[in-house]
């Protein structure tokens, strides 16, 4: 028996967006490239025309391309801006940056961004990483140039969601002890994060700190106001089950304040309790549950449906190198003019197309579809 208290989190995409997303909201979208993108909530944002969004994500770009095409992003903090092989540089985003509609764009590597979400999830002041050292990501800092980093005279941060520094590089207090391969020089050990710096004699440097030593980059926590993630199943109480690759989704879902979970199916709690170790997010972290079958379309949801390669091909054909008005027109016609996601999926995409993407239980994807090479 499900109590009415448990059902309170269940709402439509319209209700979730109206309740939690306002102009200027700092929002993190889950999923990874063409996998489990939370398109239902994103499309509803387009329908409601919520502007000036501060959008972050680790591995876009479908959601962000749509929001940029609809003219709704003001600031973007990301790691990747492309629609795979179909559109290696996401056109609407590029156009919005070039025209100044997206005022600021900040960039991290996938790994350092993942470390930021982990720090945010664990309530830690920072996390260490090595990968970005030596790249121009360290110097490139648009939020700083825009005067958004640091504190005000009253001691508050200039922007509550923007840390005072993009990175801090320090000398490794453990003098390179943890770097691999150091102890196991043959390279045979179970750590995947190895460096050739030892072999190549680059272990010590004076760069960044002026002191000879091993360097570590510290990244600040990510703390968006709203996180949105797509799952296969969510129990009525809010317990979340994600199947297939999870990527950085778990940390990113739990690093903010509000968590909206859109899903293929809302199920009874006992269904997910049967194998509790397969669940990822506990019920009490979830603020809104939105059920929308096929709602990640045109991205893929493992064990349910594959991504629609033909959608990407058509999008490139219709939008690439077109003037801004044409790009906006595409998203207005395909999304903004629809009543809700059922209207979009049923009348714009079509039920036959959706079911043609169904996965084979043996593979968890559909082996008979055209896909990105």
């Amino acid at each position: 028996m499900i109590s009415s208290e448990l059902k309170n989190k269940v709402m439509t995409a319209k209700e979730a967006v109206e309740r939690f997303i306002k102009p200027g909201t700092h929002i993190a979208f889950g999923g990874f490239t063409i996998l489990r993108r939370p398109m239902t909530i994103a499309r509803e944002i387009v329908r409601q025309g919520i502007k000036d969004l501060f959008v972050t994500m680790n591995g876009g770009t479908l959601v962000e391309e749509m929001l940029a095409g609809a003219g709704l992003i003001k600031w973007l903090e990301t790691t990747y801006l492309g629609l795979e092989g179909g559109m290696p540089v996401a056109y609407a985003i590029r156009q919005a940056i070039e025209s100044g509609e997206i005022e600021l764009i900040e960039d991290y590597s996938n790994w350092s961004f993942a470390q930021r979400t982990l720090a945010g999830r664990l309530g830690l002041p920072f996390m260490p990483c090595l990968g970005d050292i030596g790249s121009d990501l360290i110097e490139y800092d648009t939020f700083k140039k825009a005067g958004l980093r640091g504190k005000k005279e009253n001691g508050d941060f200039i922007h509550p969601g923007i840390p005072p520094k993009k990175y801090e590089i320090i000398d490794d207090p453990f003098e390179g002890f943890g770097l691999r391969p150091r102890r196991f020089l043959s390279g045979e050990d179970s750590c995947v994060n190895k460096t050739n710096a030892y072999r190549e004699g680059k272990i010590n440097s004076k760069k960044y700190t002026g002191k000879e030593g091993v360097k570590v980059a510290l990244v600040p926590p990510l703390m968006p106001e709203v996180c949105v993630v797509r799952a296969q199943r969510v129990a009525l109480d809010g317990t979340v089950r994600i199947e297939g690759l999870i990527g950085p989704d778990l940390d990113q879902s739990l690093c903010g304040r509000i968590l909206i979970v859109e899903c293929e199916r809302i199920c009874p709690p006992e269904e997910l309790r049967a194998v509790p170790e397969h669940n990822q997010i506990a019920a009490h972290f979830v603020h809104a549950i939105v059920e929308q079958p096929f709602g990640a379309y045109p991205s893929a949801v493992p064990n349910y449906y594959d991504y629609d390669y033909s959608w990407f091909k058509n999008y490139v054909k219709e939008v690439n190198h077109q003037p801004k008005e044409k790009v906006k027109e595409f998203w207005e016609k395909h999304v903004k003019e629809t009543r809700d996601d059922w209207d979009y999926l049923y009348n714009r995409v079509g039920i036959k197309k959706l079911f043609s993407l169904r996965t084979d239980p043996k593979y968890h994807y559909n082996p008979n579809l055209d896909r990105f090479n």
Partner: protein
């Protein structure tokens, strides 16, 4: 269709959960002869433990098969109703 999707995805979740059961039961069948040969040497307490273990397995398998069979039969009743108009 909107009202059917929750049920369709319920069947989908059910089917997906069976993949591991299929792989494991095929493996158990492949190794059955080897297992059967070993039984002759089992005596005393070991024999009792094995008997109980197998009885529990049979009970569990039969229960799952019963519901899956019932579901399959019910779904078959729907197919003729879905002939093209």
């Amino acid at each position: 269709m909107k009202n059917l999707m929750n049920y369709i995805w319920l069947l989908n979740a059910c089917n997906n959960s069976l993949l591991e059961a299929e792989i494991l039961s095929k493996q158990a069948l492949e190794r059955y002869d080897e297992f059967f040969k070993e039984i002759e040497g089992i005596k005393g307490e070991e024999r009792d433990c094995l008997k109980k273990e197998l009885e529990n397995s049979i009970l569990y398998i039969d229960e799952k098969v019963k519901f899956l069979q019932l579901l399959s039969e019910k779904l078959k009743e729907v197919i003729p109703l879905l002939k093209e108009e």
